[in-house]
């Protein structure tokens, strides 16, 4: 997020797109509701009638995967209505003329044809956002998990830049991170292209820095992404070490994942449960869990905070850093002298420009937002104040593309996926908690009542849902949360592996999977073999 969570109470216009915030980030949503009690207006763009839509001032129920068209049309209206922040654009950005020309033909009427959102509503939303004193944008995977994820994000950046809604209190471009420490995993350099602190591995200065710090020769080339690595299993990748990820259930195209992991010569998994992924391993290490380890998580607002051990680990489980240190010593790897989590964290701080001013003791109360470039620095709650990382904010000109897969006669229904309030990912945790499991004990496919009838289904009955990659049997829930023609499932239940269906394509730049769109066919279960 460019701005802190506390800023969520300060905008006068809030634009939520591709985020089912009340379910995926509930406490953040309570802060938005407070802004609304103080008079803020809310625009919600989502294919489904999510709870946020219930309280929104303008609802934009776009067809899945049509975000670029919607956002381009909003930019068009903002230009046409003279709502561009000309002085911000002149002082802080470049490339605006190209954008102005680019969006000239993206009329709301054109966008209505693609998105299904009435042109008048697109106009209303654009004018509301364009007139905001403090306009803030919030999004999650509904924006990024598309083949055009990068284009979607750039379209949102264009809106923020052209209206000057960045680098100030109560504004900003705010992606909400889904997992507790997914931000931290990136900060720590668990990326094929970056060392810790987002330092590119291909920069000779960084190579020198880490060569000296670790006392080894370093790889001069970028690694491949996990998505590519799964494609390469059995060809160029022959061993994997997977830590705390249930790849087989969470990643798209389950059959492909399973096949990939099975073709490895050596698979080692570190986890707290014997997940479907761990069950395929040659060696499984028992990890100490939350509540049993000391460490640091960085949340979605770039705030590192300490987690602490309350109880001893179960059985012989050990913290991940300890397991990796032992393994490194067996393999005679240098520079693994850690005795505690604190040692590891302090080494990260010393090597990362974003954490340089922090250490184990300083994050005890979680008072800083990174970057904290040196000791004594107060941290950076709001990014891009005064200047952008690259100097000037750059407008890009993305164009609408169809999703990797579109509906046709054979697969006539859109499937989109996401989270439910009570569950988290593949339910390895919430499925073993009585309360959350009580609320949502099984997977349901949410279908508009009209479609339930049209497809010959029954509310509460079983359906067979199939895509070009696989099929699942799932219970039907009739609900107007789903629009006609689009159905919804979570990816939480391994007995209804929705990832057997997804995986139609990937963003060419980031390799992020298009989990939000896939074409399916749905039939009553009795008509087939169950």
């Amino acid at each position: 997020m460019s701005n802190p969570l506390a800023d969520m109470e300060k905008p006068d216009v809030i634009f939520c797109i591709g985020t089912n915030m009340t379910e995926a980030h509930p406490v953040a949503a309570t802060r938005l509701k407070k802004a609304m009690r103080h008079g803020a207006k809310l625009i919600v763009a989502d294919p489904r009638h999510i709870p946020l839509a219930e309280i929104a001032d303008v609802v934009l129920p776009l067809r899945v995967g049509s975000d670029v068209a919607l956002l381009g049309a909003m930019a068009h209206v903002i230009v046409r209505e003279g709502l561009v922040d000309e002085s911000f654009v002149a002082e802080r950005t470049e490339g605006f003329e190209a954008l102005r020309a680019h969006v000239a033909e993206f009329t709301p009427t054109w966008a209505e044809g693609i998105t299904g959102v009435p042109a008048a509503d697109i106009e209303r939303a654009a004018i509301l956002f364009g007139q905001a004193e403090r306009g803030a944008i919030y999004y999650t995977l509904g924006i990024t998990e598309h083949i055009c994820g990068v284009d979607n994000v750039q379209s949102l950046c264009n809106l923020a830049l052209m209206t000057g809604n960045i680098g100030r209190e109560g504004t900003g471009i705010n992606p909400m991170r889904g997992q507790n420490n997914i931000q931290g995993a990136g900060d720590c350099g668990a990326l094929p292209n970056n060392y810790p602190g987002f330092q590119p591995v291909t920069d000779p200065a960084n190579q020198k820095k880490f060569r000296e710090a670790w006392g080894v020769e370093v790889d001069l080339e970028k690694g491949i992404t996990k998505v590519r690595a799964l494609d390469e299993c059995g060809s160029s990748i022959h061993a994997m070490l997977i830590c705390g990820e249930n790849t087989v259930v969470s990643d798209p195209d389950r059959a492909h994942c399973e096949h990939a992991l099975k073709s490895l010569e050596h698979l080692v998994v570190i986890d707290v449960f014997l997940t479907d992924t761990a069950a395929l391993a040659d060696v499984v290490f028992p990890a100490a869990a939350w509540g049993e380890v000391d460490g640091v998580f960085t949340n979605t607002e770039r705030r590192p905070q300490r987690v602490r051990a309350a109880v001893e680990p179960q059985g012989q489980a050990q913290p991940d850093w300890w397991i990796l240190t032992q393994l490194a010593r067996r393999l005679d790897f240098p520079s693994f002298e850690y005795e505690s989590a604190k040692d590891v964290f302090n080494e990260l701080c010393a090597l990362s420009p974003t954490y340089n001013g922090l250490d184990w003791d300083l994050v005890a109360e979680g008072r800083h937002h990174w970057p904290v470039p040196e000791k004594g620095h107060p941290g950076t709650p709001i990014l891009h104040m005064g200047t952008f990382l690259r100097g000037k904010g750059l407008f890009k000109t993305p164009s609408y593309r169809d999703p990797a897969e579109v509906i046709d006669d054979e697969y006539p229904v859109w499937l989109t996926t996401g989270r439910r309030l009570a569950h988290y990912h593949t339910r390895t945790m919430t499925g073993r908690a009585v309360g959350t499991q009580y609320l949502v004990p099984e997977e349901l496919v949410e279908i508009h009542p009209h479609d339930v009838t049209k497809l010959g289904l029954e509310d509460g009955g079983l359906a067979v849902m199939s895509s070009r990659r696989g099929e699942v049997v799932v219970k039907v829930q009739a609900t107007t949360k789903s629009p006609r023609g689009t159905v919804f499932c979570s990816f939480s239940f391994s007995d209804v592996p929705i990832n057997a269906l997804t995986g139609s394509g990937y963003d060419p730049e980031t390799d992020t999977a298009e989990l939000k769109v896939c074409a399916v066919r749905i039939e009553p279960a009795r008509a087939t073999l169950v």
Partner: protein, 355 residues
Amino acid sequence: MKNTLTLDGQRVDFEEGESLYQVARRHTQAIPTLCYDDRLEAFGACRLCVVELEGSRNPVASCTTLAQTDMVVKTKTEAIERHRKTLMELVVSENPKGVAIDPLRGKASQELAHLAVRYQADGSRFAGKQSGHSRPDDPNPMIVRDYDHCISCYRCVRVCAEQEGDYAISIANRGFHTQITTEFDGLLENSACTFCGQCVQTCPTGALADGRALRHVDTPGEIERTRSVCPYCGVGCSVEILSKNETIVGVQPAMDGPANEGALCVKGQFGWDWVQHPDRLKNPLVRKDGVLVDASWDEALERAAEGFRKVRDTHGRHAIYGVASGRAPHESAYSMQKFIRVGFGTNNIDNCSRA
């Protein structure tokens, strides 16, 4: 002097917009309250926080009275304390006797009990009156609804509306017939309730109680509190993990958590039982003859190391790939990338953010 007033004979300063209750809390000891929660609009209903204000005929509620320059305030005169004792007796009379309010019920659950002791209030003077009836028929395993203990402070209703924006519960009737209820008087799960547990944590009597934690009333040991952060989503809510010896017995929100300011959702509040679930992996496993079997650390580490060595020697350094966790702490992700980079000389490392 501007922004100073006299509090129990002392000259004290205050900030613009502070209530007399807040000024007193900052300077002397806290004035007793039952309907007060820092995060909610002051309500002025329980009348325990009344103070004498010079120039005012009747005592005023300190939580709803803003501090003004040169006010002269007395927080505990004999008359005020007598009034508080009577009020406490009335309140205590509404509660069933002999029912222990375990601190596991909720964060604020001891407030009434503590004040009852402080004012030696036993409630027999008003015995027989009671508002609210419990809902043992609500089968949800998270929120116990012992409304027999309800004192109609409305903190639950207010937190649900003001803090959560959920408006799941409301007040029916008045006086001794007051009842906290959902729409249509039904079960919580059929209402707008999201099971965030905020009502439980603000209830000053334990009438609303944490059903997950209550299983551990008889678990031996003192309750210890460990400050941590929720393991679920990226908001990063601060929590206190409650434990007895080596058993986790509950989670409560940390009121000063920078990301959540005392709020939690159902996952953070009630979703912790997995940590000590019998399914946890308790020892290393290695595959022998096609099946995973228990192994010692020594054996498992050796098998893992040997496998990596072999693949590196036959297929080269880029044949090995690491996937770090987005849930484990930094020390895990940092060690993972270093293990792969230092150990094999490859940048073949990623985390689970692309799926």
